[in-house]
Every structure is written in structure tokens, then in C-alpha cells.
């Protein structure tokens, strides 16, 4: 750990109530996006044969909807546990990017706060916090951490609560209702707004095509190969900057 703790920041490194409150407030609109996915996951997990305790455990300790749905999908396809975990992990790799990006704003934060923060680092808590930090560059570290924990704790609570509602609802839906197609619809909804620019479109097209062609490979391995190829394809498209050189 080669950090230079500066004195003022150390003193301010208690999470402030003011920041926390601002985070709670900022999280309210995104709850509208979190809750439906929690409901969907709860319903689908129970339909797939998970018990309510298992469904709740998954939402409470993983706290990452897309990866939970991906792992669930592979479980229902009878892929090995390791492949289900690996695929879920790949879906969550983007969070390494969030981790690196947000850590810059948390310098000299004590380790126990860092360990807690990692629990609630989600798409929502990252996006809203980074937006806030850019708009209010002068905020104290305590306020910054407070804001992050405000967004993170509220969205995660709603995520878990929505999962519970979905799971109890799912228990009442008779099996064989053909809900299997809800998973791809959910994934399409998440990814469609991201498909901007040539590189992203190429990555998506290569990954989708290869995944179909390789869908016969055992253990759901085609998915991982296709995803890797898609990332590589997107990476090889020159960025606008390189293009102008």
C-alpha cells in the first residue's frame, strides 16, 4: 500500500450523515430500474427450481442482477457449476473498471470502509457517485463516501426486497408458463442502450454470431469463447483518436 495519507482527509474519513442523505435521495429515481429486475430474478429463480432461501441468498450475497440471471440460465441448462460461476464472473468483470475508476476519489480511505464499499459497488452506486464527484469536486471525503453508501445501501435493500416479492409471486405461478424467454428480453433491455459506435456493434455482432455457431460445444463453453472473441473484436477497432493520427 503505497499511499500517502494526508492529515485532513484522514480526519474527514468518517462517512457523513449529510452525504448519506444526499445519496439516499439521489437513488430514488434509479429504484424504478432496480425493482423490476429484482422481481424478474425472484420469479425466474423460483420457476427454475430454486427455493426461496436460495433465491434470497443469491440476491443478498451476489448483488449483481445480470450475473445472477446468467448463472441461473446456465444452471437450468445443466452446465457445470464452475461454468455458471465463470460466466457470472465474466458478466461482472466490468466492475473492475468501476473499482479502478472510483478508487481515485477515495484516496486515504481506511481499509474497513473500502471492504464495506466493495459490497455495494453496483452499476447504480458507481454511476451516480461518479456523476456526483465530477459535479462537486470540492466535497469532503466523508461526504463522498456517505453519498456512495447512501445510494449503495438503498439500491441493494430494494434489490433484495424486490427479489423476495418476485420469489413469493413466482411460487404462485404454475410451472410451464413459458417464462424462459423473459431472460433474453431482460438482457436485451440491458445491452441495447449500450450498442453505440462501430466498436461496440462489432463486439456484439461477433460475440452473438459465434455464440450461436458454437452453441453445440459442451458445458456452455461456446459462450465464453464467443464473449472473448467479441471483446477482442471490439478492442481491435481503432479508437477515434488513433484513427485521426
Amino acid at each position: 500500500m503505497d499511499q500517502r495519507p494526508d492529515q485532513t482527509a484522514m480526519q474527514a474519513a468518517t462517512v457523513t450523515r449529510h452525504g448519506f442523505g444526499a445519496g439516499l435521495l439521489a437513488a430514488l429515481p434509479v429504484l424504478l430500474a432496480v425493482a423490476p429486475f429484482g422481481l424478474i430474478f425472484g420469479i425466474l429463480a423460483v420457476e427454475a427450481g430454486l427455493e426461496i432461501t436460495q433465491t434470497m441468498a443469491m440476491s443478498s450475497v451476489v448483488i449483481a442482477g445480470a450475473s445472477q440471471l446468467a448463472a441461473l440460465q446456465l444452471l437450468t441448462e445443466h452446465a457445470p457449476a464452475l461454468i455458471a460461476i465463470l460466466t457470472g464472473a465474466v458478466v461482472n468483470l466490468r466492475m473492475a473498471m468501476y473499482s479502478a475508476s472510483i478508487a481515485v476519489h477515495w484516496q486515504s480511505t481506511p481499509m474497513h470502509w473500502r471492504m464495506l464499499a466493495a459490497i455495494v459497488l453496483t452499476d447504480q452506486s458507481y454511476a451516480l457517485s461518479i456523476q456526483r464527484y465530477r459535479r462537486h469536486p470540492g466535497e469532503s471525503l466523508g461526504d463522498r463516501l456517505g453519498f456512495f453508501f447512501g445510494v449503495g445501501s438503498l439500491t441493494c435493500c430494494v434489490w433484495i426486497l424486490a427479489t423476495y416479492l418476485g420469489a413469493t409471486l413466482g411460487n404462485r405461478i404454475p410451472p410451464g408458463w413459458g417464462l424462459d424467454f423473459v431472460v433474453p428480453i431482460t438482457f436485451i433491455a440491458i445491452v441495447a442502450p449500450m450498442l453505440r459506435g462501430r466498436a461496440n456493434l462489432l463486439a456484439a455482432a461477433v460475440a452473438a454470431t459465434l455464440a450461436v455457431l458454437l452453441s453445440g460445444l459442451p458445458y456452455g463453453m461456446g459462450l465464453l469463447v464467443a464473449a472473448a472473441a467479441g471483446i477482442e473484436a471490439g478492442f481491435l477497432v481503432p479508437t477515434a483518436k488513433e484513427h485521426n493520427q
Binding site: M1, D2, P36, G49, Q54, A57, M58, V62, S67, Q73, L75, A81, L82, A84, I85, V90, V91, N92, L93, R94, A96, M97, S99, A100, A103, W106, R114, M115, A118, I119, L121, D180, F181, V183, P184, I185, F187, I188, A189, I190, V191, A192, P193, M194, L195, A199, A204, A205, A207, A208, T209, L210, A211, V212, L223, A226, A227, G230, I231, G234
Partner: protein
């Protein structure tokens, strides 16, 4: 029927791996910068992984073999178009689910 041990293994494994990914640069590698190339590559993860997950499901007959079911393809296209046009996750979700339910209701 998915065996219990398998479900619990996936829950625990995914939880640990996901936590480590989140904790990576906040804690384990704190103070270290992520290489620019890696950031760029990570940016392509969602747009590659999700389509790779989606495409075989859209084109599957449900028993592992591929098939072009117009219902599934149309539903997928409508969700995709709604998401691309509005740049809004919720709008895409509503459009896709509405199409899915409409097909179900009309029994097509």
C-alpha cells in the same frame, strides 16, 4: 431438477468472485492505476457477453437445437429496437415484455 449442492456452490462461488472483482482496485490493488488498454477491453465486456448469452436463447428450440421461431425473433427485435431508439433500459424492458405477453395472449 438442479441439485441443491450445485445451487449453493454457484451462489457461494459467484459471491466470492464478484466481491473480489469489486474489491480489486478499491482494496487489493489500491493506489495502482489500471492500464488504459485494460479499461478499454473491460468496456467491451457487457456488449460482448450479453449478446453471446442472448443469441443462442433467441434461436433455440428449447431442447438445445437451433431454430428460427418468428415469435422469439420478433420479440427480441422489438426489445432491441426500443432500447436502441430510446437509450432507456426500462423502455426496452416494457416493449419486450409487452410483445412477449401479447404473443402469449393471442396464442400465436
Amino acid at each position: 431438477m438442479i441439485p441443491d449442492w450445485k445451487i449453493w456452490t454457484v451462489i457461494a462461488g459467484l459471491a466470492v468472485v464478484t466481491y473480489l472483482i469489486r474489491f480489486s482496485f478499491i482494496g487489493l490493488l489500491a493506489g495502482r492505476r489500471i492500464p488504459a488498454g485494460m479499461t478499454r477491453a473491460l468496456g467491451f465486456v457487457p456488449v460482448a457477453v450479453l449478446p453471446a448469452l442472448i443469441a443462442p436463447i433467441v434461436l433455440s428450440a428449447g431442447d438445445g437445437s437451433l431454430s428460427a421461431d418468428p415469435q422469439r425473433i420478433i420479440t427480441a427485435m422489438i426489445a432491441l429496437a426500443a432500447g436502441a431508439a430510446t437509450r432507456n433500459v426500462l423502455a426496452a424492458l416494457v416493449a419486450g415484455m409487452a410483445t412477449f405477453l401479447a404473443f402469449g395472449a393471442t396464442g400465436l
